[in-house]
């Protein structure tokens, strides 16, 4: 951090403004040096991956044969005249490379074409379904972190005790039982038998409980195991031993010294998880009749709604890449060694 930044912090008019300036200065400082290079490297990689993704999606439209088939409905009547006209309208008479460039150009403008099934703009459909999925996956993400990380710490600190076995059993179940089965069993117990919670659909807070548990259990299990192993590694390190020898309290050792450093891996993993939540809601949204992009994707696939599938594939890809970029930046901030690789 340079002298100019320090001066702005010191002479800011109020306490909170000083805090804000300090925060942004730190971020700025981080980004001006090696962090900036790291971000640029990652952005370049994302561009390449995105290019690959578009080529892949475009190729898939031709892999199944004539792309016109993808736009057929049950009541399409194929006279050769209509067939040719459709081909021309889709630009199939042009060289493949030109078709690709046109397609990418449209996609960059958010124009994936009208959904064959819905007869509406595909991007509009995706944006309408997105809030329901963000809502569900956002809360499930918090649920997974709130459950997985503390249980991971508990499991590590209370190693080989009842708490450890309980935590690991929780993780084992979460990682081995398929979500659709969890969903159905939860509905059977908490809705049909106990009448505590509704079976499905979006509504008040009670409607969120079962989908969140179903969606969050598996990632919570992953976070638990990762946090546990990281904590075990850190708790075994020299500086923790030194702290113990110096008589530092156990709570302080666990939360102040060990937990912060053990969190590097789980936290970056959590960023990727967030993307997974966004794109992995297919089963949960279907079972719980949740009107998000997971169900939209299922319906699009079942109806071979190619424009919509294309839009969803690219949006999913972008979400994943954005999440991985954030994860890389977070990792870079947390662990400076990454920046020099």
């Amino acid at each position: 951090m340079d002298a100019h930044s320090i001066g702005r912090i010191l002479f800011a008019p109020s306490f909170w403004e000083r805090v804000c300036v300090a925060y942004t200065s730190i971020i700025h400082w981080k980004l001006t040096g090696e962090m900036l290079r790291l971000v640029l490297r990652k952005l370049a990689a994302i561009v390449v991956v995105l290019l690959g993704l578009t080529i892949l999606v475009f190729s898939l439209s031709h892999a199944t044969g004539d792309p016109r088939y993808l736009y057929m409905t049950q009541y399409t009547r194929t006279t050769s005249e209509a067939w040719e006209a459709q081909g021309k309208a889709m630009g199939l008479d042009k060289p493949l490379v030109v078709q690709y460039v046109i397609w990418v150009g449209n996609a960059l403008r958010g124009d994936f074409g009208n959904s064959v099934y819905y007869q509406r703009n595909s991007l509009d459909m995706i944006l309408e379904a997105l809030p329901a999925t963000i809502q569900l996956s956002g809360i499930s993400f918090l649920f997974a972190i709130a459950l997985g990380m503390p249980l991971g710490v508990l499991s590590a600190v209370k190693r080989s005790t009842f708490w450890d076995y309980a935590g690991r059993s929780f993780a084992l179940l979460g990682q081995s039982v398929p979500p659709f089965w969890i969903a159905i069993v939860l509905v059977l117990i908490f809705s049909v038998q106990l009448h505590w919670l509704p079976t499905s659909r979006r509504g008040d807070w009670t409607h969120y409980v079962l989908p969140i548990v179903t969606l969050g259990w598996l990632p919570a299990a992953g976070l638990l195991r990762l946090t546990r192993s990281s904590m075990l590694e850190v708790l075994d390190s020299e500086y923790v031993k030194l702290a113990k020898v110096k008589g530092v309290g156990s709570l302080s050792i666990v939360w102040k010294h060990a937990f912060r450093n053990a969190l590097i891996a789980p936290l970056t993993f959590a960023m990727i998880l967030l993307a997974g939540f966004m794109t992995g809601t297919v089963v949960v949204e279907t079972v719980f009749a949740w009107p998000g992009i997971g169900r939209l994707a299922v319906n699009a696939a079942l109806n071979t709604d190619f424009p919509l599938v294309t839009g969803l594939a690219l949006i999913f890809g972008i979400v994943f890449l954005a999440a991985s970029l954030v994860a890389d930046i977070v990792y870079g901030i947390l662990d400076p060694r990454i920046r020099y690789e």
Binding site: T78, Y117, S191, V192, P198, L302
Partner: protein, 629 residues
């Protein structure tokens, strides 16, 4: 140092991420019910009572007491709620004439008479709806319909007039149209409608092609959907993109919300011209999973829902509810695709199919069920001149595959499937025309029966040159389980493996993924399909040359021509005879093999004290529902 660097920002970073995620979730949570809502809709002005219906003895569905005001709500769980596509030319799923009229948001020109569940309504007399009367011209080249006055569009969109009716039909006939209802009309009836005056519309028919069963589709007796009336000037004012998703009907329920694949919310009109619903609010929820619908019924989150046959007995016992069989059962039928035997396709550009055979016509060792009537030694014309064909007219290239198809059919224990897979809620079926000619009925022919005889089936296979079986892909989609049962297909596949030593791969791809093959005639594998249809109809369009969707086989003109006569034959008995003639060919050559029926059952809770559904397999006629919660 790395630890220190990490510590400096760790708390802020963690707090920031959690706060951001929380804010995001809360922000999104506050946006409940986004999606496309219909514009504000006001109830139409009171209209004069409708004139009496001109049909003879129209049996209307019992209506609730007119003095009672609508109250309470009805919640219905459906497996699928199509997004509204309120424009015929683009409405491939028939959303206006299907769920739109079923849920009484839209109305048709007339509809089938009310019958108790399981009883097929008349195909000749109908209940007036939008049209208060109609008259068929003496030359059968047109019909004139008198549109009822005073029918209001939902919202402030004014009165329905003849131009709206004409717009609805003509739009479905446009070039490139994928209209579900339009496709189901017999060709002669796609000649175009015209406005005679404000309240009179004329349906033109190609000379000599007037269909005696023309009312079947309009009355809601077709396969999928009928025509629901749409508003011409609304389309012009809103523009195509807004009009498509903005429900503007004339039915007793105003759709305040129609979100595809999610929910429909209807509000009862208190002064509808035809009926005042008993319930005030209608909620239709899409619940794709059968298990979810079952759970929702058990917890009383829904009042009525569709349940697969295997669960009915348990649910009825546990809830005290009632199971209602709806519409005609679908005879699940295996189509032995690839038998494209027609020489010409008059409706297609490529008329000469000998020069340009269908891509799926592959009579080779990999497709033992596909016969080749054009092979040397086959007398094509003589072979199809009668059933059974004259001696010497049939070549080995036809007889071998015929035996293969019969073998595959005879290896199926239909009764075991009905008893075990369908839990007894099904019937053994032998023909794709099961609903017209069920076994034991007057017109059912003994030779259509297919015995379960694995030994003979094995012998047939050996005769055809496949004593050790062969490999086959059997496409049985999982995407519409209440129409074509995937477990039934699994059972069939297992019987083929056990009795015929076939190497069967069951392909459960979604229907839409392989559907294009039926249009391009590339379909060359056995697949599960079949649907019920009322007596007197014709299956010919599905097995005769067409540029559109096809059942994977094309019969010769001599067979198709007879059955096509049903499109114009006024005598019902003659139409039935034509269908028998057609079925004789289908049975002898065994182009398809029916297995068992799949019925559509809807279960309602005891709190639903009254419901009088019209004929049809989907939930309908909510206006008659009385809920006592």
């Amino acid at each position: 140092m790395s630890e220190l660097t990490g510590r400096v920002n760790f708390t802020r970073l963690l707090a920031f991420i959690v706060a951001a995620a929380l804010s995001l979730s809360l922000a999104c949570a506050s946006q409940a019910e986004p999606e496309t809502e219909a514009p504000a809709v006001t109830a139409p002005a009171p209209v004069a009572p409708a004139a009496a219906a001109p049909t003879t003895a129209p049996a209307s569905a019992p209506a609730p007491a007119p003095s009672k005001q609508p109250e309470g709500e009805l919640v219905v769980g459906v497996p699928l709620l199509h997004p509204l596509v309120q424009l015929q030319e683009k409405d491939a799923n028939g959303t206006v004439g299907g769920p739109g009229t079923d849920f009484q948001v839209f109305e048709g020109i007339f509809r089938a008479q009310f019958t108790e569940p399981g009883i097929i309504p008349s195909q000749e007399e109908f209940e007036p709806e939008i049209a208060e009367s109609w008259e068929i011209a003496s030359d059968f080249n047109s019909a004139t319909l008198n549109i009822r006055k005073g029918i209001a569009w939902h919202g402030d969109w004014g009165e329905l007039k003849a131009e709206d009716v004409v717009f609805t039909y003509n739009n479905s006939f446009k070039t490139g149209s994928v209209s579900n209802a339009g496709e189901q009309l017999s060709p002669g009836h796609r000649a175009g409608w015209e406005v005679i005056d404000e309240y009179t519309a004329k349906m033109n028919v190609k000379p000599g092609e007037f269909s005696p069963t023309w009312g079947t589709l309009h009355g809601g007796l077709g396969w999928d959907s009928t025509f629901g009336m749409t508003c011409k000037h609304c389309f012009e004012e809103l523009g195509e993109s807004d009009f498509i998703s903005t429900p503007i009907g004339t039915g007793p329920f105003v759709a305040n919300k129609w979100i595809g694949n999610d929910e429909l919310e209807g509000e009862a009109l208190t002064d509808h011209w035809r009926i005042t619903p008993n319930i005030k609010t209608l909620r239709i929820y899409e619940m794709p999973e059968d298990a979810t619908r079952e759970a929702a019924l058990r917890t009383k989150e829904v009042d009525i829902t569709q349940i697969s046959v295997k669960k009915i007995a348990g649910i009825v016992d546990d809830t005290g509810g009632t199971a209602v069989p709806m519409g005609l059962p679908n005879p699940n039928t295996i189509y032995f695709s690839g038998n494209y035997w027609a020489k010409t396709c008059p409706e297609c550009d490529e008329e000469d199919l000998l020069k340009m055979p269908r891509p799926g016509f592959l009579p080779d060792e990999d497709h033992p069920w596909i016969g080749d009537p054009f092979a040397d030694g086959c007398d094509y014309d003589a072979m199809f001149s009668s059933v059974p064909p004259p001696d010497e007219s049939v070549c080995p290239e036809m007889e071998g595959p015929r035996k293969v198809r019969w073998a595959m059919s005879m290896a199926i224990d239909r009764q075991a499937i009905v008893d075990n897979v369908m839990d007894g809620f099904s019937d053994v079926a032998y023909t794709a025309m099961h609903t017209q000619f069920p076994p034991g009925s007057e017109n059912f022919q003994a030779e259509w029966t297919v015995p379960f005889d694995p030994a003979t089936a094995k012998q047939y296979l050996a005769d055809a040159g496949y004593p050790d079986g062969f490999s086959v892909v059997f496409w049985a989609t999982e995407s519409v389980p209440n129409t074509w049962d995937p477990e039934l297909a699994d059972a069939v596949a297992e019987m083929w493996r056990e009795h015929l030593n076939l190497d069967v791969t069951v392909d459960k791809s979604p229907y839409a993924s392989r559907r294009p093959e039926t249009v391009t005639k590339e379909m060359d594998v056995p697949w599960l399909h079949g649907w019920g249809m009322p007596p007197g109809g014709t299956k010919a369009p599905f097995f005769c040359p067409t540029p559109g969707h096809l059942g994977g086989a094309e019969l010769p003109a001599v067979v198709c021509d007879v059955n096509y006569q049903n499109d114009v034959e006024p005598n019902e008995q003659k139409r039935i005879e034509n269908s028998i003639y057609f079925q004789n060919y289908m049975a002898y050559w065994h182009i398809n093999a029916a297995v068992a029926t799949v019925k559509s059952f809807w279960v309602h809770l005891p709190e639903v004290t009254e419901w009088h559904p019209y004929w049809g397999s989907s939930f309908n006629n909510p206006a008659t529902v009385v809920v006592d919660k």
